[in-house]
Amino acid sequence: MPPLSTGMYFLRNRARVFSQWLIIVLAVLEVSTVGLLTGSLASGIWLNLVAPLQYFTEVVASGISIPQGIAQRIAAQPDTAAMLPILANQMRINTLTGPSGANVFSLAAADQPWFLKEIHEYLVAGRLPDPGQNEIAVPELVMRSRGLHIGDVVGQKVDPNGWLPGKWQIVGVLGGKLEVGITTYSAMLQTTALADVPGTTEYAVFARPGRAAALDNILSTLPLAEVRVYTYGAEESAFQQDVRSLHLLVWCINIVTIAVLAIATGLLNHLQYLQRMEEFGVLAALGYGVARLVRRAMMEVAALTTLSWITGLALSAIGAAALQRWLFGPRGVVLPTLDARDLMYTVPIPVLMAGFTLLTVIRRLHGLDPVSVVERRG
């Protein structure tokens, strides 16, 4: 290895290089972990509030129930494929960021197979609830996250921390990407006070293939005094707005952390380069130009920050996969994978650190007087 190469410096100064490497790796780990947690929170919210609306539009009564005229108007739309009376509730699921909700839809037993097929969910174990029975098919993730089994009973009546009203026996397990549970419409009506309410309080409206946007446009014109309409487009847009705000907040916190770390590492680097001024001074006295010395310093800083950044990212990915595999997975908590945004958050770490270091070191190298170095007497 050439004596003045970056590799030689790293190889022979492992302890020095390690301290800087460690700081950058830990900074990347910290920032990417925050990104991961933010992503986990966001994906949980999206799954719960937005994801089902990819398949149907929810029309909910603004008052007690949806007026007959409105229901007939929806059914009469040529873009309407089906319109199922539905009740939406939530059951508790344990996530990385604490308890959260998973959708439980109640609909007529006869409609359930078709509904599940439309939303790409399927029965993994057991069976679907029988009509009129307080039975529930629970999503796989909830089963794992709470350690539930077929035959267990869930609901507020048996669990003070339960979210689902009443008492429900698990008869089946549902798989798929949406993580929804199913009960029968009549049983839920009996369980809640809605049994005495005339009419329907909520519909899941399915559009004909390729006509979802057109149907949503029409449904959005329904009078707000009568119904509230939850379309995928509107909810997704609102969700993205919230996510942007969340990421902005996280970004503000991250940037302060990154700035502090960049300055700390920059100062550490600066001190280490100050200690090396004799080395640079002698090289300058031997005829190595400032440009070459600056290039050498830049190579070292760039290589160290880039290597540390890549290691930090690799460790974050490996760490997240390991946590998912051995810690969170068995508990039914899904960690999102590191995405481009998480990686983007970590980019300022090496950039700022290298920038701060180079700014100070280059300034010093440009002002380097080799004579003052070699005139120092032992």
Binding site: P3, L283, L286
Partner: protein, 235 residues
């Protein structure tokens, strides 16, 4: 860079600087001409301007007045990069302290002085150390060497580019008499065989015993040129 003639010339050079409001004259009206394979010793007490003269000769400092010509190049008229290039290719400089890079082995430190400090340069440096009787030190780091060994490695570094001009500033200051003499023999031998010119700055007259000429400096001024025996007698 091709050396037209192996000559080092100063023309009435002076070096002055400000210290507060005071103007200090480190050197005044120094003119000399050293031609290969001459060995010139520069004597004088501390503060006489010996080291300043060496910095002017090497191009590390520019004279306030007068000019320095090395191998046909006017150093003052050259840009810093060209001056650096000339120093790297044609000069060998030995400082009072060895200033070895702490994390490099002796051979790697020597290779730093070579035109191309790469792996081939390190192998060449190992051969040079072997020729100088230091092959056993080649793989040692500076902290594993004695003061004398370090200074000899620094001398080898100065020879690694086969310089036409060899400059040494008190090269034996930190060495015992015997090691100092050994080092000087090594440098003289190089100059003889390579037809290089050598200027050695020292206040120790014994190490320039083999010099062709001695130049005396006093208070920044050249007082006389003498033969070494006469100079030693003066001391």
């Amino acid at each position: 860079m091709e050396a037209t003639s192996r000559v080092l010339i100063t023309h009435d050079v002076g070096l002055s600087y400000h210290q507060g409001h005071q103007r200090i004259h480190a050197l005044r009206h120094v003119s000399l001409r050293v031609e290969a394979p001459e060995f010139v010793g520069i004597h004088g007490p501390s503060g006489s301007g010996k080291s300043s003269l060496l910095y002017l000769l090497s191009g590390l400092k520019r004279p306030s007045v007068g000019w320095v010509e090395a191998l046909g190049h006017n150093l003052g008229a050259m840009g810093p990069e060209a001056r650096n290039r000339l120093r790297r290719q044609m000069y060998g400089i030995i400082f009072q302290q060895p200033f070895l890079i702490h994390f490099l082995t002796a051979a790697e430190n020597v290779a730093v002085g070579a035109p191309r400090p790469n792996r081939a340069g390190v192998r060449e440096a190992e051969r040079l150390l072997a020729r100088l009787g230091m092959s056993s030190l080649a793989r040692r780091r500076p902290h594993e060497l004695s003061g004398g060994q370090r200074q000899r490695v620094a001398a080898a570094r100065a020879l690694a580019n086969h310089p036409a001009i060899l400059l040494a500033d008190e090269p034996t200051a930190s060495l015992d008499h015997h090691t100092g003499q050994e080092l000087m023999s090594l440098l003289c031998e190089y100059c003889r065989t390579s037809r290089a010119l050598m200027v050695v700055v020292t206040h120790d007259t014994t190490i320039t015993a083999g010099a062709d000429r001695i130049i005396q400096l006093w208070d920044g001024q050249q007082t006389c040129e003498d033969d070494p025996i006469g100079s030693a007698r003066q001391e």
